[in-house]
Symmetry: none
Amino acid sequence: MKEGPDIAHIAALIGDPARANMLTALMSGKALTVSELAEEAGVTIQTASSHLSKLDAGGLLRPRKQGRHKYFALASDEVAHVLEGLMGLAAGSGYLRKRTGPRDAELRQARVCYNHLAGDMGTQMFDSMIAQGHLTLDGEELVLTETGTAFVADFEIDIDGLLRARAPVCRECLDWSERRSHLAGSLGRAFLSRFEELSWAKRDQKTRVIAFSQNGAKAFNALFPAS
Amino acid sequence: MKEGPDIAHIAALIGDPARANMLTALMSGKALTVSELAEEAGVTIQTASSHLSKLDAGGLLRPRKQGRHKYFALASDEVAHVLEGLMGLAAGSGYLRKRTGPRDAELRQARVCYNHLAGDMGTQMFDSMIAQGHLTLDGEELVLTETGTAFVADFEIDIDGLLRARAPVCRECLDWSERRSHLAGSLGRAFLSRFEELSWAKRDQKTRVIAFSQNGAKAFNALFPAS
DNA sequence: TTCATGGTTCGATCTTAATCGAAGCATTTG
DNA sequence: CAAATGCTTCGATTAAGATCGAACCATGAA
């Protein structure tokens, strides 16, 4: 009589108010730090840490370390889907949660992050490459597919040179404004310098802002269409 | 911080092992009495009664009194849908209550999910109907096409009656074992009872297994060929 | 190096709620 | 009517786990 998945364990994970608040906050799709999630849930950081490791052990979260921060996001669409279903059951009409307020508009749109493109356009490029099948997530590792390699070569980036070098070619980097992934690694850097080479974009050395020309932005959007 | 639907409360309801067992038992679609559910959950009748009134208060159940018996069934397709989703998450993270045995294989192949067909054969039926153009996905919504209506009527299902009723006819339901959609809604239920009517299949009353006869399976495969 | 910051681990406390015995209703049957 | 059955309510016990202070670890900055 006791066959099948242990639904009680998973439901109990979601069933604690503090954890439910955290999960709800993560429904935005953004990754949040431990302290931010503690704040959202209204508990201390120790408590939040304990909750988050439980949620992680239950497979509901996808943690990523970056520097001395630890970011958490929902593990998959399925998790979000179940949470949505639960909200429906809870007879939910409009549930609104405050989003991170808009900061400096230019910095948010496009800026330099370790020599690669970050900000709104960075995440757009990343998402688009995933959607087009140029990049794919193999577990924790980000890999360039066959079509991706062709795509990059077509853009006149010396992909063979990058591959020969020992540095990691593709890396995910979490965006501080968007809280979503963008492309880092040697390929990320190559893309940015190619944009500059083509005069699509120009960096401001003092502010980290990247200014795209009108034509550059148009070309960029053609190459990396937003879904 | 108390605005919006209280997902923690409803998840906590599902999160107790005894209650989860009861809900899982009700996934068969049958209405069960308090004592049967107590047996299923492995608790005394008093305890079961307490659990059931909580589940009812949470809107997860639909109780019906009949003489001195009280029957409980799941409140809606949505509830069943969320439960299946939770099973998917639990199965994905490897939290199985029991290891995969012979019974498990049967469950994967064909089982009852709130009175409709789930498991391998459920997804096969769903995929086949999509492939044949009987069903189509209009955005988020699943709709029965013109040829689909004819197909269903041809199978001697009272489609007009279903359409007149207010309940949703076609719904997607995500399968926890297959991780794919199968057909739910009143049409899904009609199909399963028609299979039983034709003696193609028979449900096991204790488990959720659906056993197809040899001829039944043959006829099923002819009607819903796997791509 | 030292300091500051973000996160984790440990231990003790305390709240919540699951559980069941016993008694109380309600309905059917004899 | 009384007896039997199915379920609910009450109360006391008990076990689980949420919480936070304090100490600790790791990373980045000065």
